[in-house]
């Protein structure tokens, strides 16, 4: 079951206008930069981007906004911390101008919504967000003496993930804190595309150390190790 694509351009070629695309990575760590660049080049429009942030530590996502490819963002930490830097960021400007629709979730709810989608769970009750703006429009329910919010699964059309090592069948091993959103996004995506730094033949991974079973991954593409400068503001 060889899932290898010749390059990032081929791997993202069929993403249509209006698609939802989950993009993994916590700021810099575990972010599939080459796939984001390829999506910017490919030019699909009216996208819904599902990712932690919309700019900080990830200038390539900014580029999608600058290109006006993004209709909606679903995220948990979209902006620069610094208000002054934020004022100059394409995402914050687009939100202020009403040109970019945005939904923000608590980080745990965000990743659990993706996890639920991959796991065939339609919805779940979480205590996070009770008594805050997050509860608006949501069912609130008591279990025991504690209140919980009903949150729905979130299933992206595509997921971009990153792995330190992977085999041609799509089994992936992550490295240190670069694992972050990758496993749950891989499982959630209808079509999951993995950017893999070290591509090996089946048998080249320790089966006990596969963090993302190949069944979740539809396309694999070998990429060079990106160079990040781990810093945000």
């Amino acid at each position: 079951m060889n899932k290898v694509y010749p390059g990032v351009d081929e791997a993202v070629a069929d993403i249509p206008d209006g698609a939802s695309v989950a993009i993994s990575g916590f700021f810099t760590a575990g972010t599939p930069i080459p796939l984001i660049k390829a999506l910017a080049k490919q030019g699909a429009k009216d996208l819904t981007i599902i990712c932690m942030q919309m700019g900080p530590g990830n200038e390539d996502i900014n580029q999608l906004v600058i290109n006006k490819q993004v209709k909606k963002a679903i995220c948990n930490y979209p902006f620069y911390r610094s208000a002054s830097r934020g004022a100059n960021s394409p995402t914050e400007q687009a939100v202020r101008a009403g040109e970019l629709e945005m939904e923000v979730y608590p980080m745990g709810t965000f990743t659990e919504k993706l996890r639920a989608a991959g796991a065939g769970i339609a919805a779940f009750y979480t205590p996070t967000g009770v008594g805050t703006v997050v509860e608006e429009g949501k069912e609130k329910r008591k279990f025991g003496n504690k209140e919980y919010l009903l949150e729905l699964a979130l299933k992206p059309d595509y997921a971009f993930v990153y792995a330190y090592k992977g085999d041609t069948m799509g089994n992936l091993t992550c490295h240190l804190t670069a694992r972050n959103y990758n496993p749950e996004m891989a499982a959630a995506g209808k079509i999951t595309i993995a950017a893999v730094e070290n591509l090996v033949a089946p048998g080249g991974l320790d089966g006990d150390m596969v963090h993302i079973p190949g069944v979740y991954v539809q396309r694999v593409v070998k990429v060079d190790r990106p160079e990040y400068f781990p810093t945000i503001d």
């Binding site: 760590a29 980080m107 745990g108 990743t111 805050t132 240190l176 160079e227």
Partner: protein, 229 residues
């Protein structure tokens, strides 16, 4: 609201972090938020406290020196960090399962406002002018709800001299009734069912000084002391 309070000279950020560190017990798992809370890590080296990084790491070590930087090994503030013996890694989802599941003994968080009931507002400053349901929620709501004990480390008043310890939060909430202890540059205040209990004041300050920059009425502890280190 824009009435300006007297500015008192209190603890440095570093000493606030030390005071928080002294509050942590050995044998606990602790998550440190962005900002002043991050500095707590400088004061617990060698202690039996395990730090969680919300992006998926337990037993996070000190910040990496220039030569130690590994781009795949960062903390929640996107700073390069190091491993310790017994460090381990997991997904973001597992990390928040852990947080919501009640496995963090303590979360140390920053705040914009804390109310006398322990309500916390920390993720959105309306002054930035964004819609009220949009901002950097990040991991704050899960940590505030999930951690067994929530310690707030923040400046006592804003740069503009406004109350941060308030009767009722006017900023969007992070969570209701979750704060246990507030450590500021001026005081250590415990949130109790009866109200805010002033336990310690910064050197040279009186309870009245602290009350003058605190909106709700403080209960003065009979054991009131200078901030202990």
């Amino acid at each position: 609201m824009a009435e300006t309070k007297k500015k008192f000279k209190g603890l440095s950020r570093e000493l606030m972090a030390l005071r928080v560190a002294n509050e942590l017990e050995d044998g606990t798992y602790v998550n440190l938020g962005i900002g002043i809370p991050t500095l707590v890590s400088d004061w617990i080296e060698g202690r039996d406290i395990i730090l969680q990084a919300e992006l998926g790491m337990l037993n996070t070590g000190p910040l990496a020196s220039q030569s130690e930087v590994e781009q795949d090994l960062i903390n929640a503030s996107c700073q390069p960090v190091t491993e310790l013996p017994g460090s381990c890694y997991f997904s973001e989802n597992e990390s928040f399962a852990m947080i919501r599941g009640g496995y963090m003994d303590v979360a140390v968080l920053g705040a914009l406002q804390v109310s006398e009931k322990g309500d916390l507002a920390g993720w959105q400053n309306p002054g930035r002018g964004l819609p009220e349901d949009i901002g950097n929620i990040g991991g704050s709501m899960d940590l505030a709800v999930g951690a067994r004990k929530v310690i707030i480390a923040m400046m006592h008043i804003t740069n503009d001299g406004e109350y941060k310890i308030v009767k009722q939060c006017s900023y969007p909430l992070t969570a209701q009734g979750v704060v246990d202890l507030i450590v500021t540059d001026l005081a250590v205040i415990e949130v109790t069912p009866k109200g805010l209990l002033l336990r310690e004041v910064a050197s040279g300050l009186t309870a009245e000084d602290v009350q003058s920059v605190t909106e709700p009425k403080l209960i003065i502890s009979p054991d009131l002391t200078e901030i202990q280190f």
